[in-house]
Symmetry: D2
Subunit: 437 residues, 4 copies
């Protein structure tokens, strides 16, 4: 039997808390899971620093990737008799689902921002480069790895295939909402996925939802909204991210200033140069990052040392609400007061902003054109979701942004009285509340 059609003697299952079981029957999928590049995802947490807020959120990207694969597997099984569905795309969909997050590194969000990287580039490189994953994909057929890469990059010609992995209601989102809810233990994030899977229909180049399932989709969109604001953008998590980013900034800065590290940042040098090659990138998992941060607690540089110690021991920054449009004067005065106190405001007075657009229909010409969710009406018309759902209409296109100002409350407390007094006044201004979690 040719490799692409090879089946395992017996179906393998992974026990999964979210989907009960993940089923694998294709040899190709089994082999991909066994690659070092995929196993590496076990050493990268799905939610980065969130476990410092929700202690259950210690699950890895390995965990999530299997889940996305399983959802796509179920969708395709449901599609097997649909006229618009091309069954030949089955294995391609499964591989793309499994591998879609392969290029993530540790704490991707911060690393990408500080070192100007893009994890999607690395996903492409791993799939197309000299890796075990690449070798397996090319065994399926010549050029198959490129197809997988294209699906993940959303450039693949069959947009129906793309939409399973990347749309406003795709397998990726359906998995992470449920999975992150399960591991954090929050009560948001539940929706009736089984029903959504049952009402998905492949029509031309998109997956649409039978209108009888509209309420399950509403529930999904509300779950998404709540998860963003309750979990993903939780201010304590963002505090840890702020510190993490500042550690990376500081280390880069010191490296550029030829600072003599006690522990040479060997694993980081190509990142500091903003040109990590694939091999170096793959070696940098969370364990490596933690190794450095732990040892850097004994560096001479007081800022690097302090920030690492904060990160390792969860001594986070506190925060106040901050309105960049109205509070610039306060911010400038705070900046100056921190400088006078010998506390570098670049590292210790940080504005962080989060924003989310819960759902949007297509607005041509806007920066990120989003494909809308379409309902399949009883008369076989398609209708854009927000035109049919009051709830979705009410939140459609409404971007919400939140700004916070982070600072080390402990250091402020130990400042001399006059300065401390003034700083606390400024931080307290406008009824903003200091959160001392």
């Amino acid at each position: 039997m040719v490799y692409k059609d090879e089946q395992l003697d017996e179906e393998k299952v992974f026990k999964d808390p979210v989907h009960r079981y993940v089923h694998v029957k294709d040899r190709v999928i089994w082999d991909l899971i066994a690659t070092p590049e995929f196993q590496r995802l076990r050493r990268i947490k799905q939610l980065g620093t969130t476990n410092l807020t929700f202690h259950g959120a210690e699950h890895s990207r390995f965990n999530h990737s299997l889940g996305v694969y399983e959802i796509v597997r179920r969708i395709i099984f449901n599609f097997r008799n649909e006229p618009h569905w091309n069954t030949k795309e089955r294995l391609l969909c499964l591989c793309a689902a499994l591998l879609h997050d392969l290029g993530h590194g540790p704490f991707s969000h911060s690393f990408e921002k500080v070192f100007k990287l893009d994890h999607e580039d690395f996903t492409q490189q791993i799939i197309l480069g000299r890796t075990h994953v690449h070798t397996i994909l090319e065994k399926v057929e010549r050029g198959f790895s490129q197809k997988v890469a294209d699906v993940i990059a959303k450039t693949y010609e069959d947009k129906l295939v793309v939409s399973l992995i990347s749309s406003q209601i795709d397998a990726d989102r359906m998995d992470y909402l449920q999975r992150d809810a399960y591991f954090t233990g929050v009560s948001y994030g539940h929706f009736d996925m089984e029903r959504i899977l049952r009402v998905m229909r492949p029509i031309d180049d998109q997956v649409v939802i039978k209108s009888s399932g509209m309420h399950a989709v509403e529930d999904y969109i509300m779950s998404r909204y709540q998860m963003y604001w309750q979990v993903y953008f939780h201010p304590v998590t963002r505090s840890a991210e702020v510190i993490l980013s500042k550690i990376l900034h500081r280390a880069k800065y010191l490296f550029e200033k030829k600072y003599r590290f006690k522990l040479e940042p060997t694993h980081f040098i190509s990142f500091f140069n903003e040109r990590p090659v694939l091999d170096e990138y793959l070696k940098l998992d969370e364990a490596i990052v933690f190794y450095y941060f732990q040892l850097w607690q004994e560096e001479d540089d007081p800022i690097l040392r302090d920030l690492c110690e904060r990160f390792m021991n969860r001594r986070l920054f506190k925060y106040v609400e901050f309105n960049p449009n109205q509070q610039m004067n306060q911010w400038m005065e705070l900046y100056r007061l921190f400088q006078e106190a010998g506390i570098d405001p670049e590292y210790y007075l940080v504005v962080d902003s989060s924003s989310d657009l819960p759902y949007d229909f297509y607005r041509p010409g806007e920066e990120e054109e989003r494909l809308p969710i379409h309902l399949l009406m009883p008369n076989n018309e398609l209708r854009e979701l927000s035109r049919q759902s009051d709830i979705v209409e009410s939140i459609s296109g409404k971007k919400r942004t939140d700004h916070k100002l982070y600072f080390p409350a402990d250091i402020v407390s130990s400042m001399q009285d006059g300065k401390k007094q003034r700083i606390l006044e400024l931080l307290d201004n406008g009824g903003a509340k200091k959160h001392v979690n």
Copy 2:
């Protein structure tokens, strides 16, 4: 207000997937959680290598420690009006519950066996030594840290307090069974803890169970039995542990042989010498271990390199059932065949044994004297559980042991034909099945 009675302005809660919320009101508890020694538990997985079998099992000992604290908090709340209960022991119980696993290191089981350590010694040292935890405990009252250490060591005079943390139905077990079931996703591990908490009664020096709750206790004991054999002793998990142990053995051996490591095992040296001091012990978390294992994949020593590569990429050993009493001849022949093939059987042909005693009543003079579970009968008599429960009686005192022989199937496959044939015959002997998961 004195420190020991100090309450937080507002109760803090941790969102917990198992107990919904963990509640903290005591300043002392809040401060203990914030210590570096306790935060370190975030970097040590509760179940070591189990996540290689059950991918959800990525939760940390931090996670579990909060859970045990919460259960004890609820028990004590229920006990508040019980005549046999000394309310003055409240804070002591909470601290002991929270800190009972503080001395665990990464992959404790393997480390303890290879380096002849005992994590309980380290728990004692952390509580009594020069640590943040110690400082906080001594602020409660002089000598309080010793009390906490005594409770955990089971030497504290009030045995009722001890039994909350260490007995055949204690808060520790009730938490880990439920928690490990939740994160692995298995359907075992469920029992009606709320009911058990409701029927617990403090009588003299033990916690007994009202007989009306007997069935909930039966369910708990069956859960425990299933979790041991289905999760904790899962043969794939044990395969990873076998490899891990052999890495540690090899590194120690090489160190003793003055092998020149590319990456000096700085963090391990005191372990190799079997005398790690507290500071060194506290630094060794899982991240550090992974750092070494990752870099040792590039060592010159082929055994260390191969084993590390296997561990990092989950290329585990396969196994067959093995009966040490009947199969010694086979084992000796296999040993010789491996040697002849240049595969060191010390590292590549490993017998691993697991055994469990699901419940036992008191058998004086036996190695580990276990305190039985007592039921409080309607007539106020106490009766030992297995005398009342048919189910428990049927498994009481029945130790079950399982032996497996682990080996690298891939290496065997690549041996020359005659030898391979004979090895496979020997491994297959007696109807034993090779598991190629």
Copy 3:
């Protein structure tokens, strides 16, 4: 000890699937549950005809009443140290919670509409009349039954007490949303009640929600919205209600016309006269209704017989969407066509309308003035929920109404061709879809 303070020797518990356990310690509550008037609620389903759509929804009002009691018990326990809370109202709250639905009869919605009754009147009568419930309440203290009745009627002077049972976020709603979701098995209806209970605060004459719990309240409001449209107003359930109402109408009509029933409607006569006295009312549980409906399947009157046969065997009406403003002409033609075919349109061509207002703030002067939900902000201000929550703002005050036209598809199918054709055209008009579930 006086009766009002009497405690049971041992706390009693009811195993409850929704709240795990319902706890009873007060003798008064225990005695109320044992009364025939309360036990009668076992014979009245919480959701009337919903079980014909969702087969799990077979739970009784007894089930729900215990749940409301338990929630109020937990709220009051949390309030025990709150300065604004009057602990003397404890027993009053518990009794009112337990008894708030005592006056419900079988299929209340239809009975009330057809016979112009109000179950709240009967709740008052049971509490204040010559009943076991009344006797027990008066043993608490003279006039206590009147207090309980006042709380349920919302006329009690302490509005804080009233708001626990009747407000836009009260114990009644929190119980039924969760309970009905549990028994139907739908995935809506989940919200974090434990969190809501934790952030409720009694302030002056209302219960407010600490703003940190806003998202849990949003989730609750969305749950409510989904439950209304997905479960309570499910068109198949309404079909059964339409038939039920028409049976009652027909029986009343026949009674007034001196029709000779084979089974005399003894239990119904006072209802037909629209003046049921309490004793008669209490006797009419669901079993009695089903008894009549079963026997009326053998009556001579073809309409009564047919409708009863439909109800008993779930041969329901089908439905199409209907817009009363635009489709009156169609309706009139249909009405005439039915008449011509000898099918009485009064019974076989029925418009049913459902509408819901998911949340509203206070609009003075409007028909049903609703008390808004207030958030307690960090600065101790109160702020109306929809001013703080985008989601709630977006659905606030938006009443949604749905109209459907019900008819017997089987009868239409058997009409002569020309008429049938025209009827089907009219029913199909405007893209409306016939639902043939």
Copy 4:
């Protein structure tokens, strides 16, 4: 298309709390569900009087029957490629699963005992007699109803088909354990059905379990054990059954004595004569029974009146443990004392016994020969479960019996002092405890 192969245009689903969804695609199944005989199961509770102990247990046999159908549907789907499986038996299996409990009446257990009926006879009669169900089955093919009847009667030639519905691990048991656990809310009754379904294999004339799934089966057997003793044999439920049986006995006795009922027992007469014909049997649902019991509260006969009043208002008998072998003298004295007090001991002093055999292997010649559960070992041998499982071995064949003596504590309390004293002594004898729930 012929009727037997006819598929619905679109798959129908029932939302089910236990199996999430019940799926129907066959026209035959859809039509069977719509019959009056099947809809009647909505008016018969699955667990009879259990809801008087566990208030959630109000679910009907309709509910359970759909569940059994769904499990069999899933099993057959898994079997579709198995060589030993005859796909032609598919529809037969589904029909037998759906209809297996069709002959149950209200409170079957008591009715069968008192009136010497057998619900299985009625299942046969409904399937084979002049019913809607029969008509539909015969439309499938001539003689198909007989096949369905044979499967349910276990006489069908293909024993593999029989074993899906009736064996020690069949769809019936798997559904009711989970369903009854769900609705009562108890924490027993959970096992990993999805795993059991995955490891079931059809081999010759039985369904065997792959040995890798043994622990899931152990869990299932323990669940069954706990459900029997915690739920099905709960002494309070049995108290209600005792009263119910005595009502039926009394009514029959009065009927035979030509007592003049105020409400003639029309629906019961054929039962009193122990020869109910099918039509009469089908009319007797729970509503009818409740109707009589409610009205009989006003009969002149004091025993019938009192027992009905107890049953309707849940004024149950209390109980003490009773050992028939050792306590006959006490019982005889009690009997005499009751007689002297004018309390008829036939109705008011009742011994009730329950016994269960949790699992058994085949013991030829014993009264109820049970087919054992076989494991399919890796070497393709079959091995009887208790030979492989320690847990199952320990409870195998161990019949447990429980006897209780029921009596009206309220009547005893109101007896004259000397007699009361002696009765209480006798009831209290031997440390037995009076349960006053």
